[in-house]
């Protein structure tokens, strides 16, 4: 009889205390919990960086191939998010299927945008494409505002929304983990496309020298249209995660553009893995900033960007030459 309680206690210890050890440590700083909080912040920041890398991958692709800065990129992400949301609410599809349906639509839109508008203004002067995409950004933002109102919306993700995974030292949400994994898969896929297919060879040739590529039978303008189409497919994936993870409304596009752009520039022109690194740097800086003071979240990300730019104006891993 006397030996039972200790066993019960032991079982109790093993059964319920151990799994929540990480969380217990978090709430007791005197047991080295402060370090755990920072580790947790670091992991959450890195995972957030996955989302920023997804925002940035399409931008990086277009920027790398045609030196085009698409200032409407953020608003196109929001447009795609509304497309997915419409698929979910109007057609009753699951978010994943809705995104799959939205992808070809966005591809066509990107192709058309490039073929009908952007190809006309690409040239040595960077001013026309900048101003055209800026005009598009404002038009798109206000068009979305008229269509969908300023109410913030969210793509319902069902059970995934709050699900988390206990990794022992830290607990991570399933959704951020999937975002990060998607970012890596996207980058592997894009790199595969870039370095192991005929289309990718055409991309690289056009990126290096559009005129010479033209002499070799490549039509740069058609290549550009396909590239923007592919970028819009990536944008749709980014929009899916953006919409499932947080509320969005028509006005938040420009801020996403800035994060994406910072990730691209930090990473260095033409390097998709660099873009991922850039996204992680922005994400980690933001979560650390937020941990210190919630008002500093965005500011910390920008300051990380400015610091990298001062130390390495061409980014961390520049591949292409401007």
């Amino acid at each position: 009889m006397k030996s039972i309680p200790p066993i019960l206690e032991w079982r109790h210890d093993k059964g319920t205390e151990a799994p929540s050890f990480a969380r217990a440590a978090l709430s007791w700083p005197e047991r080295g919990g402060a370090a755990m909080i920072w580790l947790d912040t670091l992991v959450q920041g890195a995972l957030l960086g996955g989302l920023y890398a997804l925002f940035a991958a399409g931008l990086s692709l277009v920027f790398g191939i045609m030196r085009l800065v698409n200032l409407a990129h953020g608003d196109l992400i929001i447009l795609a998010a509304y497309l997915v949301l419409m698929g979910v609410t109007l057609l009753g599809l699951s978010p994943w299927i809705a995104a799959l349906v939205a992808m070809p639509v966005m591809f066509a839109l990107g192709w058309l945008l490039q073929a009908a508008v952007l190809n006309r203004v690409l040239g040595k002067d960077i001013l026309p494409p900048l101003l055209v995409t800026f005009g598009l950004s404002v038009a798109l933002q206000n068009g979305l505002l008229e269509l969908f109102s300023a109410d913030s919306r969210r793509i319902p993700a069902g059970a995934l929304e709050g699900a988390s995974l206990d990794l022992g030292l830290v607990t991570v949400g399933i959704m951020p983990l999937m975002t990060f994994a998607s970012a890596i898969v996207t980058i592997i896929a894009l790199n595969g496309l870039f370095y192991h297919t005929a289309l990718g060879r055409a991309f690289r040739a056009t990126s290096d020298d559009a005129v010479t590529a033209g002499l070799m039978g490549i039509e740069p303008k058609r290549i550009f249209a396909v590239a923007t189409g592919i970028a819009m497919v990536v944008v749709t994936l980014a929009a899916l995660y953006l919409g499932m993870r947080a509320n969005f409304d028509p006005s938040i596009g420009p801020a996403r553009l800035i994060y994406a752009f910072e990730a691209v520039i930090i990473g260095g022109l033409g390097s998709l893995w660099g873009t991922l690194a850039g996204g992680i740097i922005i994400g980690v800086a933001q979560t650390f900033g937020a941990a210190l003071n919630p008002e500093w979240q965005i500011l910390a990300g920008h300051i990380a960007f400015l610091t990298v730019m001062l130390l390495k104006p061409r980014g961390l891993f520049p591949r292409a030459v401007d």
Partner: protein, 349 residues
């Protein structure tokens, strides 16, 4: 005898009519209602911002998307002068220009490391950082903003004289004063840009715009030129920002650093009117105001229309409306091009 001149017949007409316009504009408060004064104030300040951005992007090749940083910091510096230092609001306006100039130094140091499109986004990031930092400034209301104290707005220098002159109430007198200051600023900025473009600096700017390497090879210091243009533009933008928020008498980070108001609209005015000309922004601001009035009840459709018009103009008439007019008629109201005049050479080229 051959002479190098920028003078044209249209230019001479401008030189005569502009002073007449200015005199009429100065006398206008005697006739016009308060609503008209406020509309004109809006038009004049937007024109000032447009001329400055045109100098930057159209002549200097510096496509900044972050001018709202200087509008905002200028406005906040003016508020700081009034609220923290107890200055008269009118005297605090130069403080806005100074603050913008001070901010422009680190901004240029950072942004000039970035090329072309990088530069545009770099300036935007700095504007965001400035907005976020100013929102931390609790003495001036933090994120929610603040108003000019009543003692300050009621004792603005000059308003008593205006009240006596026109027999109007205090608030209307303040609008008249703001209008006059805006008029002075737009004349100074437009005149300044015109003078700059006709000076050696303007020649250097045109050379750099057309071909950087060629300009450097004949001794143009492109780095110094970019600094000069950027700092001048920043200071003037800061003054304008201070003046705009003197008139509204209320400030918040969202309003003072608004992307739509202080950069999107400004870019649209310049693009629609015609980038790289002095006439362009003037025409552009009139089109902009007409559109704004016509579509005032249509909410966001108005901005959407404006954005689409800018895209269409950029696609089909990259030199803007004034570019179309100038290429059809050969009209240059503010001639800056240097031409050789003298006796015609018979049978020559």
């Amino acid at each position: 005898m051959y002479r190098l001149t920028t003078r044209t017949r249209a230019g001479t007409v401008t030189a005569i009519t502009v002073p007449v316009f200015i005199v009429v504009a100065l006398a206008l408060p005697a006739l016009a209602s308060r609503g008209v004064m406020q509309d004109l104030f809006f038009i004049l300040t937007m024109l000032t911002l447009a001329q400055i951005w045109n100098l930057l992007a159209g002549y200097g090749g510096l496509v900044s998307v972050g001018q709202q940083a200087f509008v905002g910091i200028g406005a906040y510096a003016m508020f700081a002068g009034v609220i923290l230092l107890d200055w008269n609001p009118v005297l605090a306006i130069p403080l806005g220009g100074l603050a913008a100039l001070v901010l422009a130094v680190p901004t240029a140091f950072f942004a000039f490391r970035l090329q072309g499109a990088y530069f545009a986004v770099g300036t935007w990031v700095i504007a965001e950082v400035t907005r976020l930092l100013v929102a931390q400034w609790k003495a001036l209301g933090g994120g929610t903003g603040t108003s000019l104290p009543r003692e300050a707005t009621s004792s603005i220098m000059g308003t008593d004289a205006i009240r006596a002159l026109f027999g109007v109430r205090e608030a209307a007198a303040r609008d008249v004063l703001a209008y006059w200051l805006a008029l002075a600023l737009v004349v100074a900025v437009t005149g300044g840009v015109y003078w700059l473009l006709r000076s050696r600096l303007g020649l250097a700017l045109a050379a750099v715009r057309d071909n950087v390497d060629a300009a450097q090879s004949v001794g143009v210091d492109t780095g110094r030129l970019r600094w000069a243009v950027f700092l001048i533009a920043a200071a003037a933008t800061g003054l304008t920002g201070a003046l705009i928020f003197l008139q509204t008498a209320r400030i918040s980070p969202g309003a003072a650093f608004a992307v739509t108001d202080w950069i999107a609209n400004v870019i649209f005015i310049v693009v629609i009117g015609g980038i790289g000309t002095i006439e362009g922004p003037i025409l552009g601001v009139l089109v902009f105001f007409a559109l704004r009035s016509a579509l005032a009840d249509c909410g966001s459709w108005y901005l959407m229309t404006l954005g689409l018009i800018a895209v269409v103009v950029m696609l089909f008439a990259p030199k803007g409306l004034w570019g179309l007019i100038a290429s059809r008629s050969g009209l240059h109201l503010f001639p800056v091009r240097r031409r050789l005049t003298g006796p015609k050479i018979e049978g020559g080229i």
